[in-house]
C-alpha cells in the first residue's frame, strides 16, 4: 500500500484515536496497537491505552511480508494480552483489523494463518483494499473478510468510523459467546461488502 491510500490509513488512525478519546468507556478500557508488514514486519506501537496512544507514521514499501506480520501478531498476543486466571480477570478478546491491498510475497504465511485459525486468540476482520487484494489468502486467516473497493480518502474515513464503532462496541461488556463467535459488529459503511 502506498501513495494516497497509505496517507488515508494514517489519517484514519488519527481519526480513530480522536473518536475513542471522546468515549469514556473506551478511555477506561480500550487499548490500541499498530503492526505493519512490508519488506519486514514491525510493531510500530505496542498495546497502549487510548489516552497514551500516539498515532504512528506509516511508511509504505514494496513487499508484502504477510507471514512475518502474522507471526508478529501471534507474538504480541502472547506478550501483551492478559489472560484470565484464578487471581485476575483477563482482557477482552482483541479485535484485529488486517488491511491488505495485495498478495503475500513470502511463502511462510500459511503456517501462521493456520496457527491463528487454530488458536483463535482474537476476533479478526481482514480488509481487502482495492481489487488487487487476494481475498482467498485473507479467508485462510479468518472467515470475516470484507472488501473495500474504493480506496479514496472518503472511503477510508468511513471505514475507520466503522472501526471506531466496532471498538466502542467490543470495549463495552457485550456478553459475547466464549467460542468467540458471538460478537456483533456494527453494519459496515456503504461500499464495503462482506466476502462470502
Amino acid at each position: 500500500m502506498q501513495g494516497t491510500p497509505i496517507e488515508s490509513v494514517k489519517s484514519g488512525i488519527r481519526q480513530l484515536h480522536r473518536d475513542l478519546l471522546g468515549d469514556p468507556q473506551a478511555i477506561e478500557s480500550a487499548y490500541l496497537a499498530v503492526l505493519t508488514f512490508g519488506n519486514a514486519a514491525q510493531q510500530l506501537v505496542p498495546l497502549t491505552e487510548v489516552a497514551m496512544f500516539n498515532p504512528p507514521d506509516l511508511i509504505a514499501n514494496g513487499a508484502t511480508n504477510f507471514g512475518e506480520g502474522l507471526r508478529l501478531l501471534l507474538e504480541s498476543f502472547d506478550r501483551e494480552l492478559v489472560r484470565t486466571t484464578a487471581d485476575q480477570k483477563g482482557d477482552w478478546r482483541p479485535l484485529v483489523f488486517i488491511l491488505s491491498d495485495g498478495a503475500p510475497t513470502d511463502v511462510e504465511w500459511p503456517m501462521y494463518a493456520q496457527q491463528l485459525r487454530e488458536r483463535r486468540p482474537a476476533n479478526i476482520i481482514a480488509v481487502a483494499c482495492g481489487d488487487q487484494a487476494d481475498t482467498q489468502v485473507l479467508k485462510q486467516v479468518t472467515d470475516t473478510v470484507i472488501q473495500m473497493q474504493d480506496m479514496s480518502p472518503d472511503a477510508f474515513k468511513a471505514f475507520f468510523r466503522f472501526v471506531s464503532a466496532s471498538v466502542k462496541q467490543t470495549s463495552a461488556k457485550v456478553g459475547a459467546m466464549a467460542d468467540g463467535q458471538g460478537i456483533t459488529l456494527p453494519p459496515p459503511p456503504p461500499g464495503i461488502t462482506i466476502v462470502p
Binding site: P24, Q25, I27, E28, S29, R83, T84, T85, A86, D87, Q88, K89, G90, D91, W92, R93, A172, K173, V174, G175, A176, M177, A178, D179, G180, G182, I183, T184
Partner: protein, 316 residues
C-alpha cells in the same frame, strides 16, 4: 465525561405487552425512566431477610440504553427463592429475556413449594430438586414462547440466570452463564457452590438461556445442600462479580461491608472505591442503601450491577 440519559427506546414495545403478560404473568414493566435506572425490593421470610437491587451501568446510562440485568425474590411457606440475571449486551432484547427468566423462575418455585408441600428433611431434597428443574424448564420455555410470539430469534433474548431457594432446611442453587454466588457461614467463612467460569478472556459466556444446550447446563448445575450453618447468601451478576474478582477471595469482605459498613481494614479489590460507607443490611432503608452501595467505582467496570443479599437474623 460520563453522562446519563434516559433510554431512547421503550422497555417493551406496546404490541408485545400482552405476550409478556402471557409468558410471565405479573412481570412488572418499568413504569418510568427512574425504574429503568435502578430497582430494588426487600422482603422478610420467617427469620430471613431478602434484599435485591439492580442498578443501570454507566455505559448504558451514557448511551441512553436500558438496564439489562434483572432480579426477582419471593417468600414461600417454608423458605424463599431468589433469582438474578444478566441479559447479554449483544442481544437486543436481553433485558426482556432476563426479566422473563427471573420472574418465571421465582413464580414457578412459589407455585411448586406451596403451603401443602412437605418440608421434612426426608422429602425436601426430592421436592426441591424437582421444583428447581421444573422452574428452569419453565423459564427457558417462557423465553422461547415469547420469541415465537414476537418473531424474535432466541439469541435476541440471551441471558444468564442464577437462582437460589431455601425449602425447610435444604438449599438449592443453580447457575448458567457468568456471575457468582457465595454462602456466608456462621463462623464468617464463605463458600462457593459453583466454580467461576474462567475462559481466557473477559466477558465471554459459554451458555445463555434460551440457546440450545443452556437449559441442560442450568439443570446440571443444581447443587442441593443442607442449610446447616449458612447464615447468608449473595447472588451477583458479573457487573458486581468482575470488580470483586476473584469472588472466592473478596466475597467475605463484600458481605462484611454490607453487614457492618466499610472498614479501613477491609481488603478491597485493587482499584475499587466504595460509594457507601454505612451498613446496608440493617440500614433504615436497605433498598436505597444497597442501590447506593452498588455505585462503587472501579476503572473500566461500568456494567449493570445486580446483587441479591439474603441473610438470617443470626448473620453478623
Amino acid at each position: 465525561m460520563w453522562t446519563s440519559a434516559p433510554p431512547t427506546t421503550t422497555w417493551c414495545p406496546d404490541e408485545w405487552r400482552e405476550h409478556l403478560e402471557a409468558v410471565a404473568p405479573g412481570l412488572v414493566v418499568p413504569a418510568s425512566d427512574q425504574d429503568s435506572d435502578a430497582i430494588g425490593e426487600q422482603l422478610a421470610a420467617d427469620q430471613w431477610q431478602l434484599l435485591l437491587a439492580s442498578r443501570r451501568g454507566r455505559v448504558h446510562a451514557h448511551r441512553g440504553e436500558h438496564r439489562e440485568d434483572a432480579g426477582s425474590i419471593t417468600a414461600t411457606p417454608h423458605g424463599w427463592c431468589a433469582a438474578v440475571a444478566d441479559g447479554a449486551g449483544s442481544a437486543p432484547y436481553s433485558r426482556l429475556g432476563a426479566a422473563i427468566a427471573t420472574q418465571v423462575f421465582t413464580r414457578s418455585m412459589q407455585d411448586a413449594l406451596g403451603p401443602d408441600t412437605s418440608a421434612s428433611a426426608a422429602t425436601a431434597n426430592d421436592i426441591l430438586a424437582n421444583a428447581m428443574q421444573h422452574a428452569a424448564t419453565a423459564s427457558n420455555t417462557a423465553m422461547r414462547d415469547f420469541a415465537e410470539r414476537t418473531g424474535l430469534a432466541h439469541r435476541d433474548l440471551r441471558t444468564t440466570l442464577l437462582a437460589a431457594t431455601l425449602h425447610g432446611d435444604t438449599l438449592a442453587l443453580m447457575q448458567v452463564g457468568d456471575g457468582a454466588m457465595a454462602l456466608r457461614h456462621a463462623d464468617g467463612r464463605m463458600s462457593h457452590p459453583h466454580a467461576a467460569a474462567t475462559g481466557d478472556y473477559s466477558g465471554e459466556v459459554a451458555h445463555f438461556l434460551p440457546d440450545d444446550g443452556a437449559l441442560e447446563q442450568l439443570q446440571q448445575s443444581l447443587v442441593l445442600q443442607p442449610r446447616a450453618d449458612c447464615v447468608g447468601l449473595v447472588l451477583a451478576t458479573d457487573g458486581v462479580e468482575d470488580p470483586w474478582y476473584p469472588f472466592t477471595r473478596h466475597a467475605g469482605t463484600l458481605f462484611s461491608q454490607l453487614a457492618r459498613g466499610s472498614n479501613e481494614a477491609d481488603a478491597l479489590p485493587t482499584g475499587l472505591t466504595s460509594a457507601w460507607q454505612d451498613r446496608v443490611l440493617r440500614a433504615p432503608d436497605p433498598v436505597q442503601a444497597l442501590t447506593a452501595w452498588l455505585g462503587f467505582e472501579k476503572r473500566g467496570e461500568n456494567d449493570d450491577r445486580t446483587l441479591c443479599v439474603i441473610w438470617h437474623e443470626q448473620a453478623s
